[in-house]
């Protein structure tokens, strides 16, 4: 009770100080007009949220592909033995490359480069290549997360499965991967929070998603408030996922503590 009161008081004091500092600053009237214009805010609410639906679509499609593709890369990278060296090398090269190049460059290179090749049968859509770029970049990260999970499964688990007569593939499928994936769900979700934000980068190729739409609004109104609307939308989207991730981590820790106490 006492600690709640202290937390409340200190939060209020902190907020008051921030508000005072900002609102007494010399440029505040100008900034308030430019960034916090109520009328423009309401206008922007008519257009930006519907454009934001595209961000959510991009995110959902990219996420679904990444989950599968990154797992494939991670599995390739953990194949044992000299025979599989080329596949391992390929997987390592891939993750190194796409973790190394800034996302924005990948989007430009793919989005403008590949359609320019004018290959028949290859899609030319900006949206397609925007999503492809996000998939390539984020799969490199997610593959590493998966790999950490696979390596965290003790070799004795594999020995137990193989000793029953399960093939290497079935061991991976039924014993190793289920444990690996379960362990990396929190870091996996963390990467997806990053992906949600980066859907805005697809705008660079032309598709009108929330960020692009707010740019259009800004250009017509000479006011930055639409950016604020977009920012709020992104925050509203990521916060539930962030809290969900926290909750998962907490639940795992509680379970482990409970088991530790039972021993």
């Amino acid at each position: 009770m006492r600690s709640t009161l202290i937390a409340l008081a200190s939060t209020v004091v902190f907020a008051v100080v921030v508000v005072l500092v900002v609102s007494t600053s010399p440029g505040w009237p100008e900034v308030r007009q430019q960034f916090f214009n109520g009328e423009i805010f309401r206008d922007a609410l008519h257009t930006i949220p519907s454009a934001f639906v595209l961000n959510i679509k991009i995110f959902l499609i990219a996420e679904a592909i990444i989950l599968v593709f990154a797992l494939l890369i991670a599995v390739l990278r953990s194949l044992p033995g000299p025979v599989f060296f080329p596949l391992r090398a390929l997987a390592i090269g891939y993750t190194d490359l796409f973790r190394g190049i800034p996302t924005i460059l990948v989007i430009y290179l793919l989005g403008f480069g590949v359609p320019a090749l004018q290959l028949s049968g290859v899609p030319r859509g900006e949206l397609f290549w925007g999503v492809a770029a996000l998939v390539l970049v984020y799969s490199a990260y997610v593959a590493e997360v998966y790999r950490a999970g696979i390596e965290s499964v003790h070799p004795s688990q594999e020995a137990a499965a193989r000793s029953l007569g399960l093939s290497r593939t079935k061991t991976l499928r039924y014993v190793v991967l289920p444990q690996a994936v379960r362990r990396v769900i929190p870091p996996l979700l963390n990467d997806f929070i990053g992906l949600q934000k980066d859907t805005a980068l697809v705008a660079l190729l032309g598709p009108v998603e929330a960020f692009r739409q707010s740019q259009i609004e800004v250009a017509s109104s000479f006011n930055y408030t639409p950016y604020l609307v977009t920012a709020i939308l992104f925050v509203l989207l990521t916060i539930p996922l962030a809290r969900f991730t926290d909750w998962l981590v907490l639940r795992d820790r509680r379970r482990q503590l409970a088991l530790g106490a039972a021993r």
């Binding site: 499965a161 029953l164 007569g165």
Partner: protein
């Protein structure tokens, strides 16, 4: 005994950084129980892992049910499913219930339907007093229960040979008996077993033959009464004296 041996090991060598097994010869007849005794690091576990092909052998032969396990083109998985192994650390699959632990291999390898596999698993679990644990996850079970489940999991594949690798070493003392009782029951039912153990009185009780391993060699092989009461090899004598001094026999 006229039947063909279940397992024949001839001149088995295995090295890691140094040589762990230096020429092991051993034959197991059907329904025989052979115990491997010896200090930690004498090669007991490595021998079991080599028989199961969890470790590749450097030279020598392991013949299981007439099949040379090192012949090229042998289907390792097919051999392994006829041979159960139980580990010191149980190695149950923590993300599966007891029932799924036991039914996984019969379903995915033997192609048993879910109902059939579960009926068979429940029969086995009942036999070893584990029927009420079928829906528990391994981390909710005691060490003794986990190890009994691990034995049931191996039995579900109807193996013709069981390899037991110090299956009671990781258990609290009060849980050892329940696991040993299970193994006794298996011996009574005629299961052929190769058992690495530190439980000398158990070995004396259950084994048809006892092999004393030291530094990768079987120094002495004899019926339990003989090896425990009048060991011939001076090294065996020393080892057993240390065991007696520690109050373990």
């Amino acid at each position: 005994m006229s039947a063909a041996p279940v397992l024949q090991i001839e001149g088995l060598h295995k090295s890691f950084a140094h040589e762990v097994l230096k020429g092991i010869d051993l034959v197991l007849q059907p329904h025989e129980v052979v115990c491997l005794i010896g200090a930690s690091g004498s090669g007991k576990s490595t021998l079991l892992r080599c028989v199961n092909l969890l470790e590749y052998i450097d030279s020598g032969r392991v013949v299981f049910l007439g099949q040379d396990m090192n012949s090229p083109g042998i289907d390792v998985d097919a051999v392994r499913r006829r041979m159960g192994i139980v580990f010191q650390a149980f190695n149950l699959f923590p993300h599966m219930t007891v029932l799924r632990n036991v039914t996984l291999a019969p379903r995915k390898i033997l192609g048993l339907g879910r109902d059939e596999a579960e009926t068979q698993a429940i029969t086995l679990l009942e036999r070893f007093g584990l029927a009420d644990k079928r829906d528990e996850y391994p981390d909710r079970l005691s060490g003794g229960q986990q190890q009994r489940v691990a034995i049931v999991r191996a039995l579900a594949m109807r193996p013709e040979l069981m390899l037991l690798d110090e299956v009671t070493s990781a258990l609290d003392p009060e849980l050892v008996a329940e696991v040993l009782d299970v193994i006794r029951e298996l011996a009574t039912s005629g299961m052929t077993m190769l058992i690495a153990t530190h439980e000398m009185s158990f070995a004396r009780d259950i084994a048809n033959r006892v092999c004393f391993l030291e530094e990768g060699v079987i120094l002495e092989e004899a019926p339990p009464d003989e090896i425990f009461s009048s060991p011939r090899n001076p090294r065996t004598q020393q080892f057993l004296q240390r065991i007696i001094a520690a109050g373990r026999l």
